[in-house]
């Protein structure tokens, strides 16, 4: 396959799947700019490895995994909480749900976060999440159950904080 064919193939893959990737990224970051950065980084890596990535049966899963790992890695490095970004479009209201969610997700154990993002944000079934994370379905169920329980508390707390503040 010549280089131009690879480019066309990649562009097609990007156009078809970047929207869904943005959904996952937005749920994890809570704001548009960070989400775009995450998506861009993941697809950029896919392009750099396109010879290998293109032959994968599930290229989107590869991108999802890169985004998950990258977001979690970034969370570990950054200590500041998720805040509404300075908007270049003043008419836009900050998406409080997205900000709350991103802040709560980063407080979860990594595997619970991965499972919940893939299951709830991406919309994969439990067996699909299990295959992507290479763990048994029972483990995924356990992670989701515990993650939801923690999220319920975290989200309740953060919403109370915001209201009180």
């Amino acid at each position: 396959m010549v280089k131009d064919d690879y480019a066309h193939e990649f562009d097609d893959f990007y156009r078809r799947s970047s929207g869904r990737a943005m959904g996952q990224a937005y749920a994890m970051t809570g704001n548009k700019a960070s989400a775009e950065d995450l998506v861009q980084e993941a697809f950029g890596r896919a392009w750099r490895r396109w010879v290998g990535v293109r032959r994968l049966e599930n290229r989107e899963a590869w991108v999802r995994r890169v985004m998950l790992n990258q977001a979690i890695s970034d969370w570990r490095k950054a200590s500041r909480p998720v805040v509404a970004e300075p908007s270049t479009e003043p008419r836009d209201e900050p998406d409080l749900d997205a900000i709350w969610l991103a802040g709560a997700l980063r407080a979860l154990p990594r595997n619970q976060c991965r499972a919940i993002v893939l299951h709830d944000a991406v919309g994969l079934t439990v067996p699909e999440v299990a295959r992507e994370l290479h763990v048994p379905t029972g483990t995924v169920k356990s992670w989701i159950f515990r993650g939801h329980s923690s999220l319920a508390l975290l989200l309740a707390d953060s919403k109370v904080d915001v209201r009180d503040g």
């Binding site: 929207g19 890596r45 392009w47 010879v51 790992n69 991406v122 379905t137 483990t139 159950f145 309740a156």
Partner: protein
């Protein structure tokens, strides 16, 4: 907030993100991330090399923090005083778990002995069979029958029918892990101490005393390697190898790039097998227990290919050796060969099986006796590929090929007796056994399957 409400909240946020969409066109992504322009990336996109360095630095810092509170402990010396507790006894009742259970791993260790590690919801367990799967004994450490708190079994290794090790701890990948071992087939377990790595590690043992704890770094497409060595069955560990970005050029080191897997075949000899992003995967050997590594010569095959990787570590006996290798030769098209050596592993060249190119799963019983499986066919040779015979099986099997991930899916323990872990399209794993060289395969009931 109820489960459904949480699910709905996350789903609606994700939908809003999808609706926002991306503003960067694909051409711009390709331009920014073009292989020969990576150094031109903007401020918001650090180089991959930078990221890899960061990964190693972060890992080193975490390791340093992990070991800091321990007195007289150094990253590069003997480490970790074991936390001992009285030897405990596992329940002896044999209870096969109900449905909805998944085998996490199946370990074949002989013609009739096999271990299974399974999970089901909060339950988890280890079982062992000494009669080819006709009956199973519970070998679960007594306090580890539930996936709760810091009792998640994260790793398992079996050496023969009697010796086994588990690592367990919290579910977070950075949660500290504890190592326990059994020397009586899982009836009694003893806690040995903490894993030498804060990240946990992959255990392997060549003898009940000699083992390694290998940490493969997490960066996609390139991986650091830390290797710890024990000579007392896992109580004490010392660091014998720790590469990083500089390992690429260090004499006697492993390259930092590429996905890789490290396995030891005896107390001194080990192999590092690779999967790189394009091109021929390298092969490294250590003869001093993992401290120094030497690259071995792997000749490219005569046909064009994209990339590929070794199926396992080489079988080397004297001066002759063999190991399976599968190439990607097109989109979703694979072609397997057997690499052979006649000079004690110093150099390797490909021997292609007869017939149309195909993605066989290769198992080398010895340097000259090989079995290749694909669907309902077995290709067999007992003379190093000079003569072959084709065997049609009673079932079609799909031994998932996993390159360098170390998943053992096929194991002929003799010319006639072999095991295969077959994977369905939905990910369900089943265990099969043959005693006639591959003509007839019988399904083996596995706990959790």
């Amino acid at each position: 907030m109820a489960d459904d409400a949480i699910n709905e909240l996350i789903s609606s946020v994700a939908h809003r993100g999808t609706a926002i969409g991306v503003s960067t066109p694909p051409e711009q992504i390709r331009h920014i991330y073009s292989r020969d322009r990576w150094y031109r990336r903007g401020v918001r996109h650090r180089s991959l090399l930078g990221r890899r360095v960061s990964v190693v630095i972060v890992a080193a810092l975490i390791l340093a923090v992990f070991f800091a509170p321990l007195p007289h402990v150094s990253l590069f010396s003997h480490i970790v005083a074991p936390e001992t507790r009285p030897t405990t006894t596992a329940p002896t009742a044999t209870t096969l778990p109900a449905a909805e259970v998944t085998p996490a791993a199946i370990w074949v260790v002989g013609a009739t002995t096999v271990w299974a590690w399974w999970t089901s919801g909060e339950a988890q367990g280890i079982e062992r069979s000494n009669d080819a799967g006709h009956s199973w004994s519970n070998a679960t450490p007594p306090e580890l029958d539930k996936q709760l708190g810091d009792h998640f079994i994260k790793g398992f290794y079996a050496l023969g029918a009697e010796h086994a090790w588990v690592t367990y701890g919290g579910v977070g990948s950075s949660a500290r892990q504890t190592i326990a071992s059994s020397s009586d087939g899982g009836r009694q377990w003893t806690v040995l101490g903490r894993s030498p790595s804060a990240y946990g590690c992959e255990l392997q043992f060549a003898t009940p005393a000699d083992g390694w704890c290998t940490v493969i770094g997490a960066a996609a497409g390139s991986e650091s390697v830390q290797i710890y060595r024990t000579e007392d069955g896992g109580r004490h560990w010392r660091s014998v190898y720790n590469n990083g970005p500089g390992g690429k050029t260090a004499l006697g080191g492993l390259p930092f790039g590429c996905d890789k897997n490290v396995q030891f075949v005896n107390t001194t000899v080990g192999w590092a097998i690779f999967l790189c992003n394009g091109g021929l995967a390298p092969l490294y050997e250590t003869t001093d227990g993992g401290t120094t590594w030497v690259r071995r010569g792997v000749a490219a095959p005569s046909f064009p290919f994209i990339d590929g990787g070794f199926a396992d570590v080489p079988d080397l006996f004297g001066r002759t050796g063999a190991v399976g290798y599968t190439f990607h030769v097109g989109s979703s098209v694979r072609r397997s060969v057997v690499y052979v050596s006649a000079n004690a592993g110093a150099s390797w060249h490909a021997v292609a099986p007869p017939g149309a190119p195909a993605g066989w799963t290769v198992d080398t019983i010895s340097p000259r006796i090989w079995r290749l499986v694909s669907g309902d066919h077995v290709l067999a040779t007992d003379d190093g590929g000079q003569t072959w015979r084709s065997i049609t099986s009673n079932v079609s099997l799909n031994p998932l090929y996993d390159y360098v991930l170390g998943t053992h899916v096929i194991d002929f323990v003799t010319e006639k007796t072999g095991w295969i872990v077959s994977t369905s399209s939905t990910g369900t794993r089943t265990l099969w056994r043959t005693t006639d060289g591959g003509s007839t395969w019988s399904n083996v009931a596995v706990p959790g399957a």
